[in-house]
Subunit: 478 residues, 3 copies
C-alpha cells in the first residue's frame, strides 16, 4: 500500500468536527481528491451508490447544505434531510446523543449544522457513522476551510510562506476560526484586520500562540512602517517558516512581514445573527470594506480576494469583474472538495488519488493531555454544548491541559479556555486534609507537579471548598 | 401460488391507515419481509427503482420521516417531500381530497402525517395510490406498531401469551393506541399503567373489550396481591390465550396475570403538544419514570424496555447501557420494517419472503356492519377529520354499528364512539308518523330489531325531532 | 437535421422566465414532447441521469414544486431543494445575482418561485444554467400555462379559434397573465370575467392590445345580446383568426363572439395572499362561482372547466364528477409537460419527439426595441425586482419602447408600463441647452423622431430637470 492509499484507508469511518481532527497529510489528501473530482467527475458518478447522507440543519442555511447535497448526488449517493429542525425533535426535548444514535442507524453519513458550539463533536461521539461539522455556532466550519485551502492552493501553488489577511468579523465568523488554525499549520503568515469590536476571540489566538509553532504578536496597533497603510491590524501570526521569524524579535519580524503586503484577502460579512444586540439593518460604519480602491493601495496590488459568501456590503459588487476575485470560484469548488471528503470517509474511493506533489508530513498540532480531575471547572462559553440543560444531563465538562504559566484548561467541545486561578497536586488527596495546599497558578510549583497530577482551579475559593489551604506563596500572590 | 405469495399479492395497491386494515397473516408477512430486508439489504437495493414516494408531513417530525425516506432510498426508489406543510396548500383552503387526488397523480405512494384524526383514511380514499398513515393526531401510528411488534417478536420469539405493560401517556400517545389493538390481536396480555390523568381513552378500551375476544378489567385500582407492586394499573386486558382467562372470573384472572410480572415495558413520553393546556417545561411530578431501580423490583427483573422515542425524562439515561433496553434497536428496525411494507404495497417484491415459521390464520378483528341511516349522529371527537369545516363540505359522518346494550356507533375515521340514547327501527318510516316509536337503548327491543334496521339516536330529542314518540318503556327509562 | 431536431437543439441551455421567451413552434414542440413523455414514460426514465435540478422556493408551494420534482425524478435526474428560503440567504442580505451564481455552480438547472416580479429573469441572467420561472409574484407562471395549453389542446384538438373565458381573480393571478398572452398567440378569443375589483391589470391588457395582432374591446359592460347571460365581462380579446374580426367594428365582432358561448372556462381562486388588505377567511360574496347551474346556462353547455388548483369555493365540489371537468387531469399532466421542458433545456432528448401534426410557424410576439436612454424613468411596480433595495445596488431599470401615441416604456423584468408624459429627441443633446425642447407625448413630433432617438419622460418636469424646455405645442397641451 502506498502513501495515498494508507492515508485514505486511515480516513474511513472518521469524523471531521474540527480542522485539527486531521493531520496535514490527511487534509492535503482531501485536496488532492478534490482536484481529481473536479477534473474527472464522471469517474466518480457511482462512487457512493447505495450510500445515504443525512443532512441535519438546525440553523437555516442554503448554500452550505446545497453544496453538500450536490456533492453527494454527484457521487451517486442519496439524501435524507432535516432542515430547520429547531422546531421538531429538540422541541420535544430530545438530546443530541439520542438523535445521533437514531439517525446514525438510518444513514451512512451525517452532515450537521447546529447553533451550539461542540454539537458536531457530541454527535460524532454517539452516531456510529462519520459526522461532518457544517458549522457549530461560532466555533468551527472545517469544510469551508477545506474549500478555502483548495482555492488558495490552486491559485497560489502552495500555502507555505504566503501572507493572508483575515478581514471583517473575526469574532463571530466561525469560518475564520477554522481557517486561522489551518493556515498556521500549513505555514502561512496571518494578518488580523477586524472591524471595530470584532477581533478574533481569545481562545482562537491562544490556540494559535500555543499549538502551531509560530509567533503571535497581538494587542498592539500595528501599522505599516511607511505610515501609509490601511492596515491597522490588531494581531499578526508569523509562521516559523518566515525568513524573519527566527532571527528577530517577534515584533520586528511581524513588522517586516506586514511591510511586504498580503497575497490574499479573506473577507467576511458581519455575522449579525450571532450578535447579542441587534445591530439593525445596516453595517456598522467602520466595518472595513473591500473595493477597487483598496485593491489599488500598496501591499494589495497582487492580493487575491476570497469570501465564504454570502456577502452583504463588505465586498463591493464592482469587484466581481476583477480577475483577482476568486470568491465565486471558491463557492463552486466546495462541491468537489466535499465530494472528496465524503467519498474518503465512506471508504468509497476505489484507488489512490493521483498526487501532483508529495504529501506533507503527517503533522498535527501539539497534542495536550486530557485533564482527568474534577475540580469544579466549567466551560466558560455559554453557547458550548456542554452548558445546555438538555445535554448537561449526560455530558460532563471535558478539558485538555495547556501547560504554561498560568496553566489553562481548554474545553474539548468548543476550544474555549479557563485560566488557572490556583493550582495544586493530586497527590495531596493522599494526605490529611490539614496538609493540602494550593499555590498561585504562576508559582514555580507549577513546573514541579507532573502534568497528570496537576489540579487546576478556576478560583482559589474552589480549592478551599475542596479542603485545600493556601501555601505561603499563594497567600502573597492574592 | 403459495401462501406467502398470495398474501403478498393481496397487499399490492392497499393502504395502511390503521392496524386493523391488515389481517394477522398480513401483518406477520410484513414482519417476515422486514427480517429478510434486514438480513439481505443488498438483494432489495433496486426493488423499487422508478417508484416515487411522497412524504407529506403536516406536523413536524424528523425521526419517522427520515425512517420512511431512508427505507424508500434503500429500496432504490426516490422521494418528493413536503415538510411542515401546515402553512402551504391548506392555508390556501384546499381540501384533503383535492390534495390527495393531485399528489396521487404524481407519486406512486403517499406517506402522511397529519394532526386531524382520520386524515390518512380520507387521503387513502381519494389518492388512487397506496397511502400509509405516519400518524394522524392522537389516533393511530400503525407503522410504529409494526416496528414494535417486530422488535418484540425478535426478542421474545412470539407475542402470544406475553405480558406487556403500557407506560406513561396512554391518552394522547397514538403509538400506544395502535399497539394496544395489535397486541390484543396477537394474543398478548396488556397492563395499562398511565400517568395521572393520562389513562387510555374510552374508545380505545371499548374497542378492546368488543373486538378482540379477551377480557378487559378496568376502572379499578389493581395492585399486586403481595401488596408490593409499583403497579397501580388502571386496566388489564387478558388475552383469551391466557391459561387463567377461561376458568376464572375476569378480576381473578387479571390479578393472577398481574402477579406474574411483565415481559416488556412499553414506555412513552408525555405528548405535551397534544394537550390542551400547556403543561410547561417539566414533566408532571407524578409521571411514572422507568429507571434501574424500577427494573430491579419484583415482576420487572426480566422486562425488556421499548420506547418509540424521542424520550424526555420518563426513561432514565442510565438505562442506555442496560442489556434489557431495546429502544435504539427498535428505532433502527423501523427501516427494514418500512422497506418491507412499502415494497409489498407497491408490488415490488419479486419472490416470496422466506418464512421462519408458519403464518398465523388470516384473522381480523370482528367486523361490524356499516350504519346506513342518517339519524343526526355526529362524531364526538372535535379533532376528527369529519368535523373540520373544510372537510365537512364533502365528507359525511360515517359509522359502524357496535351491537350491545346500549348499541354504539363507531366513527369510521377516528374510532371514537357514540352511545345510543334512544333506538328505533327503520321500518317505522313505513308507518304513519303517529305510530313511530323510539325505545330506551338498553331495552329488550334492541335485540328484536335487525341490525341493518336499527336506528340509533344520540339523544331521545333527536328521535322526537324526526317524528318518533317515546314507547311506554322509553318514557319510564328517562 | 429536421424541424423538430432544430427546434430542440435551439432550446438547449435556454431559460423560461416568461411565455414570450419561446416562439410558437418552441412552445408546441414542448407540448409534443409532453405527449411523448405521457405515453412512453419508460423511454425517458434515464434521460436526465446525472443531472441535478435545484428547486428554490422563496414562497410556500407544494403542488408546483412536487410536480417539478416528480418530473425530474421520472427523468432519472436528482434534486436539491431549498423550500421556504425567505428566512435564509436573503435574510443574510444576499442579492439574487449572487445566489444565482452560486447555485448555478452546483446544479444543472434551477426552478425558482419568488415573490418579486421579474426575479426569475434576473436569476436567468446570472446563473449560467437554464432557469425556469415557477411563479414570480403576480407576474408570470409560464409552466402552468404550458400545462393549460396541453390540456386544452388534448381536449379541443387545437387552440386556434376557440373561445375561452378567464374567470375570477384576473388581477393577482399570475397564471392567467401568462395564459392570456399565450392564448392570444395561438389564435384563441379570450373573454375576461373577473370578480369585482379583480380585473386583469392594465399592463396585461395593454400588451394584449399591442403585441398579438387581435382586437381588444375593454372597459364596457358587455352582455350577451339575448340579454340572458351571466357574462358581464369587462374585456374581450378577439383573435385575428376570428371570422368576425376583420370585417366588422371591434365592438360588433366582440358581441358576435360572445353570443357564440365559450368552449372553455378557466377558473381561478382569489389570490388572497397577494392582496394588500386582508380579506378575511371567506370569499367576497360577489366572487363568481362555477357550478352545475352555471354549466347548464346557454353558452356554457359545452364548456370544459380548467382550474390551476388549489381551489377554494369558486369551483363547486359537485363539478368533480362532471365529465367536462378537466382540472385534475390538468394537474397530472403537469408532470409530463415539465419532463419535456426540462429534458429539452438540459439537452437530454436523444432523438426528435414524434409530431402528430406540423409545428406552427416560428412566430413570436412583436419585438420592441430596447430603450437605451436614462431619462429618470422608473418601473412603477413596487413588487418589481428592480425596485427592491438589495437588487437596486446592481440592477438598473431596463425598458422596451412601445411606440404609439403616447409612446410607452415597458419594464423588461415585470412588463409594467410607463406612459410618456413628455417626449424629446436625443439629438437635442448635441444642441445648446437653450435649444433643447420637449413635446407633448401625443404630438405629431412623436412620429418624426426615430425610435432609437426618442426620449421618454414620465413627466414634463423630468424633461425640464434635464435642461429641456417646453415646445410651444407642449405648453398648450399641459
Amino acid at each position: 500500500m502506498n502513501r495515498g492509499e494508507m492515508i485514505g484507508s486511515g480516513l474511513v469511518g472518521r469524523s471531521l468536527a474540527g480542522v485539527d481532527d486531521f493531520s496535514n497529510a490527511e487534509l492535503s489528501y482531501v485536496l488532492a481528491g478534490a482536484e481529481e473530482m473536479a477534473e474527472h467527475r464522471e469517474r466518480y458518478a457511482s462512487a457512493c451508490r447505495g450510500k445515504i447522507m443525512a443532512s441535519l440543519f438546525f440553523e437555516p442555511s442554503t448554500r452550505t447544505r446545497l453544496s453538500f447535497e450536490t456533492a453527494m448526488l454527484r457521487l451517486g449517493g442519496q439524501l435524507v434531510s432535516a432542515v430547520d429542525v429547531g422546531a421538531t425533535s429538540l422541541a420535544k426535548g430530545e438530546t443530541l446523543a439520542d438523535m445521533a444514535r437514531v439517525v446514525g442507524g438510518y444513514a451512512d453519513l451525517i452532515v450537521m449544522r447546529h447553533p451550539w458550539e461542540g454539537a458536531a463533536r457530541v454527535v460524532a461521539d454517539y452516531a456510529g457513522v462519520p459526522v461532518i461539522n457544517a458549522g457549530d455556532g461560532g466555533h468551527e466550519h472545517p469544510t469551508q476551510t477545506l474549500c478555502d485551502l483548495y482555492t488558495l492552493t490552486k491559485d497560489r501553488g502552495c500555502l507555505e510562506g504566503i501572507r493572508i489577511a483575515l478581514w471583517g468579523d473575526l469574532k463571530y465568523g466561525r469560518t475564520v476560526h477554522s481557517l486561522t488554525w489551518a493556515l498556521a499549520r500549513f505555514g502561512a503568515t496571518i494578518v488580523f484586520r477586524p472591524g471595530a469590536g470584532l477581533a478574533a476571540p481569545d481562545h482562537v489566538l491562544s490556540k494559535l500562540a500555543t499549538d502551531y509553532g509560530g509567533e503571535l504578536v497581538r494587542g498592539e496597533q500595528l501599522v505599516r512602517s511607511d505610515g501609509e497603510g490601511v492596515l491597522p491590524v490588531d494581531a499578526i501570526y508569523v509562521t516559523p517558516r518566515s525568513p524573519h521569524q527566527l532571527a528577530m524579535l517577534p515584533h520586528m519580524s511581524a513588522q517586516l512581514e506586514l511591510d511586504r503586503g498580503v497575497d490574499a484577502l479573506y473577507v467576511t460579512r458581519l455575522q449579525k445573527e450571532r450578535m447579542r444586540v441587534d445591530v439593525g439593518e445596516s453595517q456598522p460604519t467602520d466595518y472595513p470594506v473591500v473595493d477597487r480602491q483598496l485593491l489599488r493601495t500598496k501591499g494589495f496590488e497582487h492580493s487575491v480576494v476570497l469570501h465564504p459568501l454570502p456577502r452583504v456590503d463588505e465586498l463591493a459588487l464592482e469587484m466581481d469583474s476583477d480577475p483577482r476575485s476568486l470568491y465565486f470560484k471558491q463557492a463552486h469548488q466546495g462541491v468537489p472538495v466535499r465530494m472528496a471528503l465524503m467519498a474518503l470517509l465512506l471508504g468509497c474511493v476505489p484507488s489512490e488519488f493521483p498526487l501532483e506533489k508529495a504529501l506533507p508530513d503527517d503533522w498535527r498540532p501539539v497534542e495536550h493531555i486530557d485533564y482527568a480531575h474534577d475540580t469544579g471547572v466549567r466551560c466558560p462559553n455559554e453557547r458550548c454544548v456542554v452548558n445546555q440543560p438538555s445535554e448537561a444531563r449526560y455530558l460532563s465538562p471535558r478539558f485538555r491541559l495547556i501547560q504554561g504559566s498560568p496553566p489553562r484548561l481548554r474545553c474539548v467541545y468548543c476550544d474555549h479556555e479557563v485560566c488557572a486561578g490556583a493550582i495544586a497536586t493530586a497527590e495531596a488527596y493522599d494526605e490529611s486534609t490539614s496538609r493540602r495546599k494550593y499555590h498561585s497558578p504562576t508559582s514555580r510549583w507549577s513546573s514541579f507537579i507532573r502534568p497528570e497530577n496537576l489540579l487546576v482551579f478556576a478560583r482559589a475559593g474552589d480549592a478551599e471548598a475542596r479542603g485545600f489551604r493556601p501555601s505561603a506563596q499563594a497567600q502573597v500572590s492574592e
